[in-house]
């Protein structure tokens, strides 16, 4: 199984440093989620792990090898990447989209072998998209579209799956559906999953390992019980959270929360004058 870790990563855009001195070790066969406030560097870290963004310094190790020294196609056979809200060209069918997931295993022309077709059929089936194979991706609902993209990523047949906010823009039921699909892939095929998600309770419920980030540094990492504490959430999100146990899953959930710094009072007098 493939391992992924980082050593003293420093990441940024232009002159701006976003993440400093990051040492992250992704555990094999587990679901790891990265949580943190907007702009804390979650997506940036995921992009760097995915070699989509180059680090300023430091090293990402994939399978013990420095990732920037490994041919990109070889990486694509070990690690699949799904960016935030990807877009498919108009008219592309679900089947065609999923078939692109096979390209790291193909030669230049993209001709599908029988094995490729079997994998695509399997991906269609586990994502419940069988009946939509011939539909254009742009004609699907948000949840179906996201499943189509995940189907493409899993058709890549990699041990590692990196997903950036796979549940964003989906309603409650569809969010759960996606996460349960990922959980199933993790359990039944022991795929290692790294994802960024905003919903803390989902992160708590579905991950073996959570990484809480603030301003590009790891505040706390560990199991949900270790990370989902009022203290950590206070530092990471500046919220005063009430953590209880979910009666069904026995995982910690954030029942309710308040901002620590209150929203400044509206000064009515100023508005009137304005």
């Amino acid at each position: 199984m493939v391992s992924l870790s980082t050593e003293n990563l420093q990441i940024g855009y232009g002159d701006k440093i976003i993440v400093e001195n990051l040492n992250l070790h992704i555990k094999k066969g587990e679901i790891t989620t990265i949580i943190g406030a907007n702009g804390c560097g979650k997506s940036t870290i995921l992009k760097t792990l995915a070699r989509v963004h180059a680090a300023k310094s430091g090293i990402v190790y994939l399978d013990g090898k420095m990732i920037h020294k490994v041919p990109t196609k070889e990486i694509a056979r070990k690690m699949a990447v799904l960016p935030q809200s990807p877009e498919a060209p108009n008219g592309l069918t679900v089947y065609e989209l999923i078939s692109f997931g096979r390209s790291p295993h193909q030669s230049g022309f993209g001709r599908l072998t029988d094995n490729d077709r079997q994998v695509i059929e399997w991906a269609l089936e586990v994502t419940g998209l069988g009946q939509f194979a011939d539909h254009p991706v742009d004609a699907l609902s948000g949840g179906q579209r996201q499943r189509a993209w995940i189907a493409m990523a899993i058709a890549q047949e990699t041990d590692l799956l990196l997903l950036d906010e796979p549940t964003t823009y989906l309603d409650m039921a569809h969010q759960l559906e996606i996460l349960q699909l990922l959980e199933k892939l993790n359990k039944e095929q022991s795929r290692t999953i790294v994802m960024v998600i905003h919903d803390l309770n989902h992160a708590s419920r579905f991950s073996h390992h959570m990484v809480a980030l603030s301003k590009g540094t790891i505040i706390k990492e560990g199991t949900a019980d270790e990370v989902m504490t009022p203290d950590v959430l206070k530092t990471v999100f500046q919220i005063d959270a009430e953590i209880v146990k979910d009666p069904r899953t026995k995982k910690p959930v954030c029942l309710c929360y308040d901002l620590i710094e209150k929203v400044p009072e509206l000064d009515n007098r100023k508005i009137m004058n304005f």
Binding site: K47, A50, R51, V52, T72, K73, E74, I75, A76, R77, M79, A80, V81, L82, P83, P86, E87, A88, P89, N90, G91, L92, T93, Y95, E96, L97, F100, G101, S103, P104, Q106, G108, F109, G110, A133, D134, A153, Q156, L162
Partner: protein
């Protein structure tokens, strides 16, 4: 999948239809012109049995021009299709990116500085002018790439820089045009609006292998173009060397446009319209979409050239103008029909 089989069938029907239309246009075009030649005489001449006059008109003037129209049409259309693919922008085409005006600028310089002194030295002129055009196209492309480069190429930035370079060259063209004598001005104006003028077999001999090599190359890259259409991040995740592939494909598109413009002048719009129509007909899969675009480009340009030659004969309308007149309304119609 039955869907992809159905698409393949549709593709074969469409491309056969276009082939037949092109052949019909080709035959009609052979008969028409300032000198009309009856079909039977056309046939005789092609078999080598015609009169000396028919031989001259048909074999030496009319045929090379038509073959050039087919080559240039395919070249511009595929160039536009590649540009639209790598920039992920449906508005990209050699015209908008400043490749046409770059070529135009060099041609204007050529006409301005040399034309007067080599009016009679026609053979040299005929081959120098396209060379200048090609240099201009490559220069423009290089400039755009250089200015758009910022630790990699961002497609949106590429297009914006292209539009900037385009208007820069456009302005420079006007400056030189205003200083020309009327005769040179006319020649420049005709060239800029797109005119297949190198009606010469030597020209075909140079252009044909280049274009007929570059189009299969684009086809060879069809799979990569498909994946690049999913965006840089997804493409990288799927193991594509995005930056490298984009550079190679841009180079191919520029070369195609450069060669085409060198022989056909600043034909605008074809590189935009042909891929659009083809995509609408067959979908975004480049394996099917690129060949259809090429054949469509050939057909449209041959048709436009035939119309331009004959509509107001003996006055010739530059082929670029005919393309624009006919395709612009159709293009707007397509856009209005889209959601």
């Amino acid at each position: 999948m039955h869907q992809s089989k159905a698409k393949q069938k549709k593709f074969i029907v469409l491309i056969s239809l276009l082939f037949i239309l092109t052949i019909i246009t080709f035959i009609i075009s052979l008969n028409l012109g300032v000198v009309r030649i009856a079909p039977i005489d056309v046939f005789k001449t092609l078999m080598g049995q015609g009169t000396a006059r028919d031989q001259l008109v048909l074999i030496d003037f009319r045929l090379p021009r038509m073959v050039l129209a087919l080559l240039i049409g395919a070249g511009l259309a595929v160039s536009g299709a590649i540009l639209q693919g790598v920039t992920k922008n449906e508005l990209a085409d050699p015209g908008i990116l400043g490749i046409n005006t770059g070529a135009g600028f060099m041609v204007i310089l050529f006409i301005y500085f040399f034309q007067g002194s080599m009016n009679s030295v026609s053979t040299l002129g005929i081959f120098l002018m396209p060379l200048f055009a090609l240099v201009g196209a490559v220069l423009a492309a290089f400039l755009i790439y250089l200015l758009a480069w910022k630790k990699g190429i961002d497609p949106v930035r590429l297009i914006l820089v292209g539009i900037g370079v385009n208007s820069g060259f456009g302005a420079a063209i006007v400056i030189f045009q205003l200083k020309m004598n009327p005769q040179d001005f006319m020649q420049a104006a005709v060239w800029l609006s797109g005119d297949i003028w190198g009606t010469n077999w030597k020209f075909v001999a140079i252009l044909a292998p280049l274009i007929l090599l570059l189009i299969p190359f684009a086809l060879y890259k069809a799979h990569i173009l498909n994946i690049m259409n999913l965006g840089d991040q997804v493409a990288t995740g799927l193991g594509i060397h995005v930056e490298k592939e984009r550079r190679i494909l841009l180079l191919a598109a520029v070369a195609l446009a450069g060669f085409s413009v060198a022989a056909g002048g600043g034909i605008a719009f074809l590189g935009l319209v042909a891929p659009h129509i083809a995509k609408r007909l067959i979908g975004p899969k480049h394996q099917l979409f690129l060949p259809l675009t090429a054949v469509l480009g050939s057909f449209v340009l041959l048709l436009a050239d035939t119309i331009g030659k004959n509509l107001l004969a003996p006055t010739q309308i530059p082929v670029g103008i005919v393309v624009a007149i006919f395709s612009a309304p159709y293009f707007i119609f397509l856009l209005m029909k889209a959601k």
